[in-house]
Symmetry: C2
Subunit: 888 residues, 2 copies
């Protein structure tokens, strides 16, 4: 029965897998993630839980008598002390920060070398334009193709940003293979190659992922020393800190990193995790910058993209409308970027022919995209109109530049120094260059981020935003050559400040975060533009949030990861919708005294993954919830061929059938109770399935997640149950039971001798038996809501506790169920649109957790009445005992 149950379960899993489309976003999910993840987690937990903890050497040593024993004991105590310290949070956080700083610095170094190599190659071949072009185009194509191929082979999970996945993981879902060493290696190497190619890709999202993997690996490594790293809740806290470290050491922005990681990954944030994030991110950023100082790149620790705007008069009050314009335009731009990115993915996915072709030649798409982009940026070609020769870092440095490029509208008055040269074109002016740059980079970035390599979109967007800000700033400077301020002092307009504002606004709009403001302050080392930046970022967020989901949420939807949309601002109606408005009332349930036929009906009529278990259909008191797979297992074990054969055998051996049943039960009890050691897989080998199968036995493949201890309890429970009338003497001996079992095996080998009609009849009989739940895994406390719980509170509870369903009860009675799906629909308004009545605003006044409404009272009354009138023996339905034809 165990085998057939397993087959059934895997079949249903395969079915469910079909619900998830194959995605072009290259994080392929071929299984129902939620279910799979839970099973996986349970499996892992069981595995690790079963391993007995090895004794520490010191514990053993204290018993040994020797001359230098005190000495050694002392040394071991020191060692033990050190090991206990290893378990402390701060040690872990420091190690994480250190490792990530080293990784970040090494990667930056490698990327810079790659870019330097391209520049050197391009520069060396300046005699022949064709050769130059070949070099310019081939180099990134090779790198990107390598990166895509490498990741594809080693760990396809390493593809993409990683922030959407981290958001899902922090919500409590376990994504398989997402935090492994293989993925770590694939991501680090893939990212280095991808960024080294000079494509418009970012490293911020992947860094969040890398840091998380680093934390997971580190905690696994440290758990070899201490025992404190196995806790799930703690690991999630550590992952949250790791996300902060990822952003922090990527930009050397500890505060912005913490805030950004909170905004993009969390719905609810525990303030106690805040410290961890700050601590680790600060340490990481510190080490990251210290490495630069030690490497003589910098004289001391300063910002990554240091600006030198004047402090005394950063901007005039009258410039604020221009900043607001940047904010609003960035909002639209950000929404457009998200939209474009999604459309590209969807277009590629829908075009069957393209899709099939690309699926076959997985590396063609990246190569093609790289080819197009690098052709367009080729400096002697079209690249000359869009500063194509500058790397991302150089672009940002020039855009944040202190001086005005277009003085008094005549752009060649200003002396362009060094890399600024790239922005000047003899036959056009700087405005044209900026506009071309913005437009070209916009679609290039949106396209490039769909390439299946490890890459983020933050930095490209940041650069585009900076360019847009610079454009507005230069326009303002051209419009007001002597500044707006009318007083005695002349304060010229600083276009670099506009670039800073634009960068923060656009990246904020794409990611739906405000903390990009803090990131720019930390990146530039100046906070003087705080108010313009904040205003622009908030406006950009307001516009973008009302138009599109954030880039990360968009990817979550594309990848079909389990998610729960946020409650936006200004949705009053959310406070007035209650659970009773959105819940599914007509749910299937399993009663404690139901028959197998009922189970079958329930399985046929619903697709719910968790079925509520109620006391009886009349009382509806919720006792727990049972997984669908468990119900399936119960059913298939009841109808298993083995069991059928048993029955057959019984009929044949009817003369001593009674003794058989008795004795085999006796035997089972004796083996099981005498086995004190955990996990005896040898006994459960499918090689001798009949050995442990007795009539009306539960499927003895133990439910995953339940420990062996429980298994014993369950079995003894069942046995007591089956041997309902143990009045006979238990004098049957071991050898007798053995002989009987051997005869059963013989019977099985002889084969199935029942006709199909007989089988059908037998199955019908079996279905009319009462279900024995003792072998099923039951969740004793499924999450419950009341009908009056507001949508707002429900959302809060779901997102905090990472639920995917909750039962609605009223004084213990099950009245409905709410799952993530209903909640999602209610929030996205599709349910409200379909005519669910939204309560009048004042209705919420009647909301009191302790109030007794009519419905509650009625329910209470029913219970009360039941007690007053002393339970009618309603359980004595004709199906109860009459059909219970188990052999006695």
């Amino acid at each position: 029965s165990g085998g057939s149950g397993g087959t059934m379960a895997s079949e249903s899993e395969a079915q469910r897998a079909l619900q998830y489309e194959q995605t072009l976003m290259y994080g392929r999910y071929t299984q129902d993630l939620g279910t799979f993840a839970k099973d996986e987690a349970a499996r892992l937990r069981l595995q690790e839980g079963d391993t007995p903890r090895p004794r520490r050497p010191s514990e053993l040593l204290e018993y040994s008598q020797g001359r230098c024993a005190p000495c050694r004991v002392c040394a071991l105590q020191c060692q033990r002390f050190l090991i206990s310290k290893v378990g402390e949070d701060w040690v872990f956080l420091i190690l994480l920060g250190l490792v990530m700083a080293l990784v970040s610095w090494a990667m930056d170094f490698a990327i810079a070398t790659c870019l330097q190599a391209q520049k050197w190659m391009y520069g060396g071949l300046d005699t022949n334009v064709l050769l130059q072009y070949m070099a310019w185009v081939t180099y990134p194509t090779v790198l990107i193709t390598f990166s895509a191929g490498f990741t594809q082979i080693l760990a396809p999970q390493a593809v993409g940003s990683g922030i959407p996945e981290m958001k899902t993981i922090l919500r409590g879902v376990v994504l398989k293979e997402y935090l492994t060493l293989k993925t770590f290696v694939a991501k680090v190497i893939g990212l280095t190659c991808a960024l080294g190619s000079g494509m418009p890709l970012g490293k911020e999202g992947p860094f969040v992922h890398i840091a998380s993997m680093c934390a997971a690996l580190l905690s696994r490594f440290l758990s070899l020393f201490g025992g404190f790293y196995e806790n799930e809740a703690r690991n999630i806290e550590m992952l949250a800190a790791a996300c902060a470290v990822g952003v922090g050491c990527c930009f050397a922005a500890p505060i912005g990193g913490v805030l950004f990681s909170i905004e993009v990954t969390s719905t609810f944030f525990a303030v106690r995790n805040y410290w961890r994030g700050f601590f680790a991110a600060t340490f990481s950023a510190f080490i990251f910058r210290v490495l630069a100082v030690w490497n003589k790149d910098e004289e001391t620790i300063t910002a990554l993209f240091k600006t030198r705007f004047r402090l005394d008069f950063p901007f005039d009050l009258q410039e604020l409308p221009a900043f607001a314009v940047i904010g609003i335009a960035s909002g639209f731009g950000g929404a457009l970027f998200v939209f474009l990115n999604r459309k590209i993915v969807q277009f590629m996915r829908r075009q069957k022919t393209i899709n099939r072709f690309l699926m076959k030649k997985r590396l063609l798409f990246p190569a093609l995209v790289t080819l197009i982009i690098s052709t367009l940026t080729f400096p002697p070609g079209f690249g000359q109109f869009m500063a194509g020769q500058l790397t991302q870092k150089d672009t940002l440095v020039t855009l944040f530049d202190n001086q005005t490029w277009a003085k008094q509208g005549i752009n060649d008055e200003y002396e362009y120094l060094g890399i600024l040269e790239a922005w000047r074109h003899p036959r056009s002016n700087v405005f044209v260059t900026l506009v071309v740059f913005i437009i070209m980079k916009f679609w290039m970035s949106a396209l490039a981020t769909t390439i299946p390599v490890p890459c983020g979109a933050f930095m490209p967007v940041f650069v585009i935003g900076a360019a847009f800000g610079r454009l507005v700033g230069e326009s303002m400077a051209a419009w007001f050559p002597d500044g707006i301020h009318t007083d005695s002092n002349i304060y010229r307009i600083v276009p670099g400040g506009y670039a800073v504002v634009g960068a923060a606004a656009l990246s904020g709009a794409v990611t739906h975060t405000v903390s990009t403001a803090v990131i720019v302050f930390e990146l530039t080392g100046q906070i003087s533009h705080i108010l313009p930046v904040m205003i622009a970022v908030i406006l950009a967020n307001a516009v973008a949030q009302s138009l599109q989901p954030s880039l990360y949420d968009s990817i979550i939807r594309i990848k079909k990861l389990p998610y729960l949309p946020e409650l936006g601002w200004g949705h009053h109606e959310k406070y007035n919708v209650r659970v009773e408005d959105i819940m599914v009332r007509d749910i299937r349930y399993v009663t404690l005294n139901c028959k197998y036929r009922d189970l079958q009906q329930v399985l046929h009529s619903t697709k719910m993954k968790n079925l509520p278990l109620v006391e009886s259909a009349e009382s509806m008191i919720l006792l727990g919830s049972i997984e669908r797979t468990q119900v399936g297992a119960l059913l298939s074990s009841q109808l298993s061929p083995q069991r059928r054969l048993m029955t057959l055998r019984h009929k044949v051996l009817s003369e001593d059938g009674h003794r058989l049943s008795d004795s085999s039960i006796r035997f089972q009890i004796s083996t099981e109770t005498s086995s004190g050691t955990p996990a005896r897989p040898a006994l459960r080998k499918p090689l001798k399935p009949a050995l442990k199968r007795v009539p009306s036995s539960p499927p003895d493949s133990p439910p995953a997640g339940s420990t062996d201890h429980t298994g014993i309890a369950l079995k003894s429970l069942f046995c007591a149950n089956a041997a309902a009338e143990p009045t006979e003497a238990q004098g049957t001996a071991y050898h007798k039971a053995k002989r009987v079992r051997i005869s059963i095996v013989e019977e099985m080998i002889l084969g199935d001798k029942m006709t199909p009609a007989e089988i059908l009849e037998w199955e019908e009989q079996q279905l009319d038996q009462l279900v024995d739940f003792s072998s099923a895994k039951i969740d004793p406390a499924p999450f419950q809501l009341v009908e009056h719980t507001s949508l707002h509170k429900t959302h809060t509870i779901f997102s905090l506790l990472g639920l995917d369903h909750a039962f609605v009860t009223s004084i213990g009675r099950l009245v409905g169920m709410v799952s993530l799906k209903e909640l999602r629909k209610a929030i996205e308004g599709s349910l409200t649109g379909k005519g669910v009545k939204v309560r009048p605003p004042l209705a919420s006044f009647r909301d009191s957790t302790a109030s007794t409404t009519e419905a509650d009272t009625t329910a209470l009354r029913q219970l009360w009445d039941r007690h007053q009138h002393h339970h009618m023996p309603r359980e004595a339905s004709p199906g109860g005992d009459d059909d219970d034809d188990t052999p006695k």
Copy 2:
């Protein structure tokens, strides 16, 4: 019965009130806050809920026919649109920001004027030192005394910081009178006077409170227009935003404000509230600074305490140890400050004689403290050694100064300009002045913040920290005259930077926050010292958190507000403690089929405020929870004299008793069901209590919080219950019922004719009746935990949902209870110390929500068995029907 129930309730409230000590912290809590607050909230909700919503004029107008009707309809539709917009979040947040900016600016202006006046008075009297002294001392004493008296009279709730109270309120507790207009006025005026006196007090904590009151008042005001402001959850979200506004407009620090308010008020933070905070705080800070520009105080928007440190080389890597020293020392200093502050309060409270004297003369203590402090700061006196003449703001400006005061150890080489003069003393050097300043200000601030005026401790601590930082910085500058950097360029040490670091570190240590780092960046307008500041703040926090609670938590404990301690970092054992280790197993419960005698016993044997209601003692299935007061009310209504008289009357009128019961029930149904309008208090006046009292009637004072609709349901329900055999014809007329009732009233007037023995007998009889729960308020879904829930998760759930107790169930069966008290004890370690077994680290592996453990299985088995054996009629206990002697 309602009256006697009320008396009983108020008595028990008074009893409970004694548990709360009278506090010296001047927020006097003479009632059990939790219970009181809930009742109050329920009362308010009921009140508002009962008021019928007035019809909009436009709704009526559409029916009226006139010539310019379309015109008016259009205008009204516009108006309606505007009104609907009023309900939107952003309008509310903008208004809040605007109002708070105006308040902040006006207060700053008033405070500056006050301080100016003192300076002017002091300056004008420079001919006579005694007169000068009198003026210097009298002015602040008068102001502080006025402030203390004014707040005491108008609203004692306005006293103190307000952050502890806001933390409590945001946790879900309703504190009475904390967010009213009276408190607002008292706080604003009291704070202005207190700060105008020049005492070392801060405005930041009170501003959080002021902003919250402002938000509460504003939402009440706006609810006159729109209907969206009544929701409790929304109000809490708005309060969270208001806290951010408070800090934001106080320091013109929007980002720091949001973060600081999150850190000090929240345990869990919803990221969706984050936007609100940022939006409102930015707007507020913007307006606050724009007002300064319009007032010609500033040329443009810049930071409040702008610094001008060099950008290219803010600090050397080798200076970092000095910054770390500042951090660690600040950590100790911060802990000492909290300790000192608490000890002063406790000392004053313990000294009975002092306490009694001060209680009588409430204004003497403030006056005395002010006198001492102002005497010591008198500039020609001791004040000359501690820069006594500088206001708080001037002190901060000078401490953040760009230049080094003590060059090469010779302090008079440097030319002190303007207000810097105050730090120089001819007979001592700047180090001595700084040390004296730090020591004196330290205890002065700790003392001054215990004065019963609206005041915070943030700014004084901030100033002390800055002075300490400056001291270290000046020492470093004296030690390394040419800087530490060994390269060609000479970069001198910037002591101002040390002052910034010190300010952030000490204020962070006292408040246990990291966001003070962000606040200093925003205050100074420079972020170049980010790494030193972060390092110092984190170290300071680490030290301070391991020694003392934060200042706000300390005040919460002193004021005995309901609180839940945080889970610190590095407490691994918290992950291994489970609910079953800390829960109370031996709890009293109420069964559905219990007698009044059982209720009495339960009330006598436990002090729990919420009693679990279970199906029966055998099944222990949890159905809901019932409040202690409700149980008391049930009991007292059963034993009420009125009911006794009824019984008596019945005996007398036994010949037509049957018809009486029937008819009066009939009457009640008719009145209640015909009354469609809500709330008819006239019917319920205690003047004619007998009018609605029928035998075995429930107490008809409606339970607070249940609406009238529910009331009807309850009553009709009861009636159906009492009229269990309505077989007779219902032909009795209204006048007959009236006559009968009149006779009952007569009987009551005639007085109690039972002897004490009879009464006792009657009461015994009554106690043996089964309890009728239909009139009691029952919480249908009390929060439930499972035995395996970890302490960590329990803490999370308690702090997120603001619970104060939760029942522990196992497959529906009640097995225990956890309240805030147990949780608090478990976290603070006192329970663990007392021998609660802490699970071995690996035990957590067996933790799976879906696992079936032995205990669960047993429980399930019991239920299963019950169903198999068809309920024994155990409810047919002798007490059931025999003692049910209600007249029929």
